[in-house]
Subunit: 523 residues, 2 copies
Amino acid sequence: MPENHTPALNGAESLVTTLAASGVQLCFANPGTSEMHFVAALDRIPGVRCVLGLFEGVTTGAADAYFRMARTPAATLLHLGPGLGNGLANLHNAGKARSGIVNIVGDHATGHARHESPLKSDAEGVARSMSHWVRSSLSAADVGADGAAAVQATRDGDEGRIATLLLPADTAWGAGGRAAVARPAEAPAVVLGAVPAAARLLKQLGPRAVLLLGTGGSRSLAAQQHAAAIAAHTGCQVLAEFYNARMPGGRGTHGIQRLPYSVDAAAARLAGAEALVLAGSTEPIGFFGYPGKPSQLKPAGAALLELAAPHHDVPAALAALAAELGAPPVPAPARSVPTGWPRGPLDAESVAAVVAATLPDNAVVVDEAVSTGRGFSSAMVSAAPHDWLPTMGGAIGFGLPGGVGAALGAPGRPVLVLEGDGSAMYTVQALWTMARESLPVVVVIFANRAYRILQGELLGVGAAITGQKAEAMLSLGNPALDWVAMARAHGVPGVQVADTDGLAKALRDGFASGGPVLIEALV
Amino acid sequence: MPENHTPALNGAESLVTTLAASGVQLCFANPGTSEMHFVAALDRIPGVRCVLGLFEGVTTGAADAYFRMARTPAATLLHLGPGLGNGLANLHNAGKARSGIVNIVGDHATGHARHESPLKSDAEGVARSMSHWVRSSLSAADVGADGAAAVQATRDGDEGRIATLLLPADTAWGAGGRAAVARPAEAPAVVLGAVPAAARLLKQLGPRAVLLLGTGGSRSLAAQQHAAAIAAHTGCQVLAEFYNARMPGGRGTHGIQRLPYSVDAAAARLAGAEALVLAGSTEPIGFFGYPGKPSQLKPAGAALLELAAPHHDVPAALAALAAELGAPPVPAPARSVPTGWPRGPLDAESVAAVVAATLPDNAVVVDEAVSTGRGFSSAMVSAAPHDWLPTMGGAIGFGLPGGVGAALGAPGRPVLVLEGDGSAMYTVQALWTMARESLPVVVVIFANRAYRILQGELLGVGAAITGQKAEAMLSLGNPALDWVAMARAHGVPGVQVADTDGLAKALRDGFASGGPVLIEALV
């Protein structure tokens, strides 16, 4: 090697360069030894901000919410198969949310991986279980192109997908790195073939047809407005799926309601429907199967017509459908600003009233309130305009990381996390990242001191509790978690409230403080 | 169906019956909807105690340590693919520890799994990445036999293995369950074929040979005594692997030292060796690969001779080797009870002196102290007799769950957990289970407020930090975690100490209290 050769990029530096050039501006990291060259490269190569999480589920959950707000993928930086394993649950959720994420997973150096070392694992197997795309780099010269391919893979055939790049340590430290750049994202396909049939069906069936919006149909106000115009013109019903990755709501929107969670309520809501027109949605399926209850929620004989698939340009399809029908725009219903709430104890209804009355303008609400959160949607139509981000995929532990990701993906907007005490415990470490990054997040923990959702589910599946052992599996009361101490442990100020006035004051103080703040709400 | 038929078992009840009949006495559970029938069955069928964890990594880490002490598998109860994902890192560790665990993972009802529901995932793929055995039950009638097969699979060809049984909800709630029972465990094979060759090699090479003990050779005091006799007779060196699933130590033992962790130190320790005789150990391999450093730690030309594989009866092989050599027993060196420690601040050396002086008799020490813990082994030879349980497999997050599992697997023995602040955060929820079950566990958190191990590793891999972004990825100081508040949050009393006298008092008070107690040691 000549002594005065130009310093070249190592593999890790070529990857950071590639990610920055491909629009990846943020990396949620929980690194280990195998990722030290990537960490070092962050200093030398500008363009990628790095945010530390103290547990991998924090990084993947934050990346999910970040994508939903920023609409561009973040990277995660994870350590070997076990580290990736710790991030899987929120990758599952992100996959169901169609969020794009590039996971960079350090692995043993290629020569070292031949030997039986303690941390040797089937990292590719772990990755495949929850990724749409997996690749392991073979040499430092490949890492740049592999990184660009990973970014492209997050957009391949869908709005967002999970791409996992395994980076053996020697491909990171090796010389000869070559930076690359991903192709820019393409606009979603405008597919209008089903527009005439959908128009005929809705006109013919009127209230016996349901226009069902998926995320692509509920995320944009324009799409919601087209849907409302179609409903007003044809008399059809409009519903959104129970889970939407991001749904604008509050005053100024049409207040489109979501299909209920419970199988019985959802089936009742769809009873009498003869057709479902799917606008970026999929056939409604119950969350779980229950003895003697259907998995498919639509009436047995009802037709399904796909107006647009989730990865299509759903707003364009709804606009074309409204035009085909000649449906004129209708204004959103005027709703007055909610000013009060019932005085007294906190329950699902009174909490929703307080939140609706105190939410600041343009907030992002992350919803993992589970049992306490089911009652929010009717109150929130009168709240200030906001975006609503629920846990997609049903793996609990999204809420607190989601607050981190939403704040970083929507800079300047206040974030409210509505969180159950049971679910908060899966990724509680996210509180520290909120403090570390001074994020404007107000967290409300609904402390019912139980897996209350499971107490209901136990009845739903027909399993009767006959003794204390089973009861104990659903109770978190012995000992009670102390959420104010939990907040302090992670560097976040905390306060406990037990009634509606206390919650309202704590919420207003929290938003005024700039956050982060944790409110323990005894329900 | 006749009205007065004898109530039959459902699938879940047949499984609980089978587990109890097969020697599984404990279930570490983090259940969801799909597991409600299993939870309900715990009340109706006696014999399986259920301990709740608030995060899946707590349940799998506890099951690992439980097996190491009780030498019989525990079950875990986990919820679908994402829940199993949260438990993978400690399953990785358990696999490397050769701990037997039966994971019961609820899955969607078979009819429901055909549909695209939010929680649908490739649970089998998640399971395969970290299990030796995976099966999905097909009907309620199969569940009992499948459970018995799972228990048997934990012993199939090794001391302990990871078996994962996926239980679709309808196979749990369905009628027609039939209980089964696993075959009893067989004694490990006594394999003596290499004894004469090992005897010749050790006699011939003397100090240029190393007798390397794996867990099977270090776990029993008898095996340690045989090894010491062999060393005294032949002049060979005796070392234990750096990681041993369970190693008795302290006064009355021969104080067998472990191979060092760092590649350089381990290679130096083995320099000059012409042969390694493996007694339940495997070829020593560096933890990570580093640029320009070997993966294999033995000198290039040194021979390897396997006296006994890890799953063989290693004590029997060592006894036979001692007999072949005619090596008479040698007494363990007499060591006086340590009474003091250097006054002043806490560092690796002074902490070790305090722990050695204050450890109660017959304690179980769970070691995940990472950077602070490297210096313990020389001080601990003078401590009271104890068992030492390190993180096997290197996936951090074992320590606190390990304290739970060790306490339940060795009832009546005090447990000390030595834990880094960074590593504690991966499964901090274990503190709650300690409080819930009133476990006699004293936890010492070494609060260096950094991923200090990574600060060293960064140098080891030759990656230089040039700026603040990388530095920030290794620091946990902004904000500092408040471990006394963390303990209180989970219902555990906590105290902060900053010098050796304070640590000694807190340890003595903690053990006297019966625990659990958390001590934040500022290092």
